[in-house]
């Protein structure tokens, strides 16, 4: 599909803001960028949908939630998915993440065809190679912040890399909240914990379904900046569903869905371009 070049968002000021907001230790930043693991790779395809269709219901009540979708998400790229309600955004995300099965077509996760995996392999793939951020209810109420963050590692029986853990925690600004439980955190803090959890296992891709849908715009911005920062700094491939044109501009690329089909796509999106594209979609 689209040829891709290393993209930096033009609104650099916001990025600087976000870094200032979330990172208070620039030394950490330096050690991070020097880490060979985290070298920004730009041209590999992280995840890809080929002729993907998803239907619900039987002959009479047939709903084509996804209709022959072809799309790829490059490693290190931040993509937003937009579209009217019911256009199939969540369905696409769920299928990409192996939470749901396609009716026809394939999802390639790196070199792996998801349709060849059984349930347990899919579970393990989610645990080891994917990160999730949902709109709400992201955390286990009985677990502390720390436990919630390292949950995927715990499930795999792995010890967290302490340095990386601290980096992630510091960057989301939760260092002093590690012993708190979800009901002692604000909604924004809870979402930040969810993002930290998504990052901690160094996943190939983070999927986020309206991660700021429940937050006020300021808190939402902080989360988005942080995601953007993670993409920029760690080369974290990220796919995010959103309804908010401003939120969409934090991404390198916006994909528009309608009736289960990809209708449009923008690179380096600006708010007015996104709004124009949405108008075209409605028209």
């Amino acid at each position: 599909m689209s040829s891709h070049s290393a993209i930096r968002p033009p609104n650099f000021a916001i990025l600087v803001d976000a870094v200032a907001l979330t990172l208070n230790d620039s030394e950490n930043m330096t050690t991070l960028t020097n880490d060979s693991d985290l070298e920004v790779t730009t041209n590999d395809v992280a995840v890809q949908a080929l002729d993907a269709s998803k239907c619900y219901g039987d002959a009479e009540t047939l709903v084509r939630a996804l209709d022959n979708v072809n799309i790829e998400f490059n490693a290190g790229q931040f993509t937003s998915i937009m579209g009217p309600s019911g256009s199939g955004k969540s369905t696409l995300l769920h299928c990409l993440a192996g939470l749901d099965q396609l009716s026809t077509g394939h999802i390639w996760f790196g070199d792996t065809d998801l349709s060849t995996l059984n349930q347990q392999q899919l579970t393990d793939l989610r645990r080891d190679r994917l990160g999730f951020v949902f709109q709400s209810f992201n955390l286990i109420p009985t677990m502390t912040t720390r436990e919630n963050i390292i949950l995927p590692l715990d499930l795999a029986g792995q010890k967290p890399d302490q340095e990386w853990f601290e980096t992630v925690v510091d960057s989301v600004g939760l260092a002093d909240r590690l012993r708190h439980r979800p009901n002692e955190l604000s909604g924004g803090q809870q979402q930040r914990v969810a993002v930290a959890r998504a990052l901690v296992s160094k996943p190939d891709v983070i999927f986020a379904d309206e991660p700021t849908g429940n937050l006020d715009s300021r808190t939402g911005k902080a989360i988005l900046s942080f995601l953007q920062e993670a993409v920029a700094t760690f080369g974290q491939t990220t796919v995010m569903v959103t309804h908010d044109p401003v939120a969409a501009t934090y991404a390198d690329r916006v994909v528009f869905l309608k009736d289960g089909r990809i209708e449009d796509e923008l690179l380096n999106p600006q708010v007015d371009h996104v709004l124009a594209a949405m108008n075209r979609l409605d028209g």
């Binding site: 209810f137 286990i140 109420p141 009985t142 436990e147 949950l151 995927p152 499930l155």
Partner: protein
């Protein structure tokens, strides 16, 4: 509005089939047990009382010896109603007919056509044949010498043929007797109460009993004569020691006689049903509190659009009443099935007669009431709570804050526990009568129990942290989730655990008491006898002393001592005593006398008392003990010795056989201690004993060790029967665990979706849920076992030392019990855990 709400409420109820099924199940099963217990206890009382009714049927007056209390197994001596008495009664004006009656329930047991002893599990009652009695011949003629008759039921069930000859065993021999007739009761309502009822000729029965005379005289008065004047005339004519009873009095005497048995049965059953109701209430309450929590949001919505809390409560209560009533009706039907099952169990385990099981109006009404009321009570508190949640929180689905310390619970719980402990302490220490001790202990235990059940919610979270620590370390996430989930709704976890706690507390209580009882019985038997063998009747009935004499005549036998065990009222308290010949007893019985009076020679009615009893009652050497026997005669027993051991047979008093015979005229014995001759080898002795047993089919010879083993076995059997019932209660609590878990799982659907989305495997999720059940049940079991052991030890201390004198805690059995209970609850949780883990992740996430 209200009817709309109610309709909505029902639609809501019907919309979730699994939830409805689980809720209904809890109610149905509890009502089933209540109605089963009621039906069974009526049925069984009818059987037991029916026997008395049958015997009192069709007579006007009864003449019988005065008897302040019933002797062991009602085995009365016939000596006090003689032929002269019968003649005297017949001569009284207005007496139309006077029939002497005589019966025994130990002497004769016929073999069946297939050669086996008839019905070796239940009683055989043998009556002396009297013309005009309440027996009626169905087929054949009255029994003459060497003939017998059988009740038609037994005859038909076993294929007896009138006119054929069968082997009849008596304690002293087996002889051939001809079946002269089959009989039935003249009274159409007459019942054999599941016994074998036979008659033989009066002469033969008297000969076998070793005495002439009768048990009592049944009288019919002349038509037209006044019953009370005949009664007065009879009383005038009769010698002292004989009393005249009206049919009413005779009937109520008979009732009184068997009442303890009926009460024992129905008391046990009702206790059991109270227990299952108790457990069921916890389950119903749990179920509804989960349901209400799940519906808080929906109820909040209703309140947001203007329904008042009162309207909502009413609609929920109406829902509960309808549900409770419906389920109670089903429960009554299921209960009838269960009662059939239990009566079959009794029948095959103990040969107990199958009662007529019919639903009485009382049972139906009570079951309906209990089921409906329990459901109504169970919903009230949760509904109230659901309405107390602020509307905003309810609509937004904010979880109630469970961190808050439930102070009311704490106060009530502590008060109950303290009151219970005080009551138990008073019961154990105060110098009270047995009845009030039992009452204090019982009430105290119930208080402690409720108190602990309430307090459990305070420490269940902390306890599960400790108990779950190894699990969390071992399995990490699943273990930790399980451990921490228990603390999320402590009240609910605690009441889930409570239902198991009750069951295990009772089982371990029974185990402790039973084990202590067993230990007392076996050390008693071990230390009481110096002989190497023992003769006894397997049905615990008496047999003629002639058996002991026959044994002693054998060359293989060195010596025998015959022992009778019976009841007497000593110093105002009816107690067991042991009868033995004081000249020879010490040869084979180890008295281990600690103090002996040297005035033995001059004493006519000596008694030896155990040290423990003497200390308890303050009895000293030379004391006179006022003693009354079952036939009303009284003597002063003189204490001539204090012995360390319990008496043979477990009583606290030894009296001389001459005293016993003088007072009761009984010549029957319970146990014969046998010393084998030194001149014979073991195998020679065994052969001789086998030959003896063959000739005397109703008695067994066993070595002391075997005798102890078989005593323990029979104690075990009764313990097992009690525990089988308890296990049913425990079973209900497992259902409760499954139920609560299943419901609370549906509360956490989204959370489980999240876990699955971030990579929790199905297996790990199942594990987490099973561990949760495991921890709750482990907590419940442990608290239950601790309470049970404490109550058990308390009971052992409270039970008179003559019955139980050593505290035994069967640690291994209790550990096995806890392990089994935990394993079973893990198994019980497997189903909801499997169901939850089976669901697609996406469905969970989107739920």
């Amino acid at each position: 509005m209200d009817t709309k709400l109610v309709r909505h409420s029902f639609r809501q109820l019907l919309s979730n089939k699994v939830r409805l099924a689980l809720t209904s199940f809890a109610i149905v099963i509890s009502v089933a047990f209540v109605s089963a217990s009621l039906t069974l206890s009526t049925g069984i009382s009818d059987v037991i009382f029916g026997w008395g009714e049958t015997q009192a049927a069709g007579l006007d007056l009864v003449v019988e010896p005065e008897s302040p209390f019933a002797p062991k197994n009602f085995e009365v001596s016939p000596a006090r109603v003689s032929d002269d008495t019968v003649e005297l009664v017949r001569s009284v004006d207005g007496v139309a007919d006077a029939r002497p009656t005589l019966w025994s329930n130990f002497l004769f047991r016929p073999t069946k056509p297939d050669g086996e002893l008839v019905d070796d599990k239940f009683t055989v009652s043998t009556f002396g044949w009297v013309e005009g009695s309440n027996f009626e011949i169905v087929d054949g003629s009255p029994p003459r010498s060497n003939e017998f008759t059988l009740d038609i039921d037994t005859a038909e069930a076993n294929g007896y043929i009138v006119g054929e000859t069968y082997d009849m065993t008596t304690p002293t021999e087996t002889r051939a007797m001809r079946l002269a007739a089959t009989t039935q009761f003249r009274d159409p309502n007459g019942t054999t109460a599941g016994q074998v009822v036979q008659t033989i000729s009066m002469d033969e029965l008297q000969t076998e009993l070793g005495q002439p005379g009768y048990v009592n005289i049944h009288i019919n008065i002349e038509k037209g004569s006044d019953r009370s004047s005949v009664e007065a005339a009879l009383q005038q004519a009769l010698p002292e020691g004989l009393v005249v009873l009206t049919q009413q009095e005779a009937r109520s005497n008979l009732r009184e006689l068997v009442a303890p048995y009926a009460q024992g049965f129905s008391g046990g059953l009702l206790g059991f049903s109270a227990l299952s109701l108790f457990v069921a209430c916890f389950i119903i309450y749990n179920t509804f509190s989960v349901l209400m929590q799940q519906r808080t949001r929906e109820l909040g919505l209703l309140r947001a659009v203007g329904a008042s809390p009162r309207q909502i409560r009413t609609s929920i209560q109406i829902e509960a009443i309808v549900l409770g009533l419906g389920c109670s009706i089903v429960g009554i039907a299921v209960g009838l099935g269960i009662s059939y099952g239990i009566s079959e169990m009794f029948h095959s385990a103990a040969g107990f007669p199958r009662p007529d099981l019919a639903l009485t109006p009382t049972a139906v009404a009570l079951s309906l009431l209990v089921g409906t009321l329990a459901t109504l009570l169970a919903v009230t508190a949760p509904a109230r709570k659901a309405c107390r949640v602020p509307v905003v929180n309810a609509v937004r689905g904010v979880q109630p804050d469970t961190k808050k310390t439930p102070t009311v619970r704490f106060i009530i719980g502590s008060l109950l526990a303290v009151a219970g402990i005080v009551s138990i302490t008073v019961g154990l220490t105060a110098d009270a009568t047995t009845r009030s001790t039992v009452l204090l202990l019982g009430v105290g235990s119930i208080f402690v129990f409720f108190g602990v059940a309430l307090l459990n919610s305070l420490w269940i979270a902390r306890c599960s942290q400790v108990l779950g620590a190894p699990l969390a370390r071992l399995t990490n996430v699943p273990g930790r989730l399980a451990r921490d989930n228990i603390g999320r709704n402590r009240t609910r976890s605690a009441s889930t655990a409570a239902s198991l706690m009750i069951g295990l507390a009772l089982v371990s209580l029974v185990l402790v008491v039973g084990e202590s009882f067993k230990a007392t019985a076996s050390t008693g038997a071990e230390s009481a006898y110096k002989s190497d063998n023992i003769l006894y009747n397997q049905w615990d009935y008496k047999y003629p002393i002639a058996v002991a004499e026959k044994l002693e005549a054998l060359p293989e036998v060195e010596q025998t001592v015959a022992i009778s065990i019976d009841l007497a009222e000593i110093d105002g308290e009816v107690q067991y005593l042991t009868v033995a010949d004081q000249q020879t007893a010490s040869d084979l019985i180890d008295f281990d006398v600690s103090e002996r009076s040297d005035m033995l020679e001059g004493v006519t009615h000596p008694v030896i008392v155990t040290e423990r009893e003497a200390n308890e009652k303050g009895i000293k050497l030379g004391d006179e003990l006022e003693t009354r026997f079952y036939n009303g005669t009284t003597v002063e027993l003189t204490v001539v010795g204090i012995n360390r051991n319990n008496a043979a047979g477990g009583s606290s008093y030894y009296i001389d056989r001459s005293t016993w015979f003088e007072q009761t005229k009984q010549t029957t014995v319970d146990i014969v201690a046998i010393q084998s001759a030194a001149t014979v080898t073991e195998s020679q002795f065994e052969t001789a004993m086998e030959r003896f047993e063959q000739a005397n089919a109703q008695v067994n010879v066993e070595t002391i060790d075997d005798f102890i083993a078989s005593t323990e076995r029979s104690i075990n059997t009764s313990l097992q029967t009690i525990n089988a019932m308890m296990f049913l209660a425990i079973l209900i609590s497992f259902l409760g665990i499954t139920n609560t878990l299943a419901l609370s799982i549906s509360e956490r659907t989204t959370e489980m979706g999240l876990l699955r989305a971030v990579g929790m495997r199905r297996k790990q999720l199942r594990k987490a849920l099973r561990y949760e059940a495991f921890l709750i049940s482990l907590f419940g079991s442990l608290v239950g076992v601790v309470l049970g052991i404490a109550f058990g030890v308390g009971s052992v201390v409270a039970i008179p030392a003559s019955i139980v004198n050593s505290v035994q805690i069967p640690v291994a059995q209790i550990v096995i019990l806890v392990v089994l209970a935990s394993a079973a609850s893990v198994a019980a949780a497997a189903v909801p855990a499997w169901r939850a883990a089976k669901r697609r992740t996406l469905d969970l996430v989107n739920a």
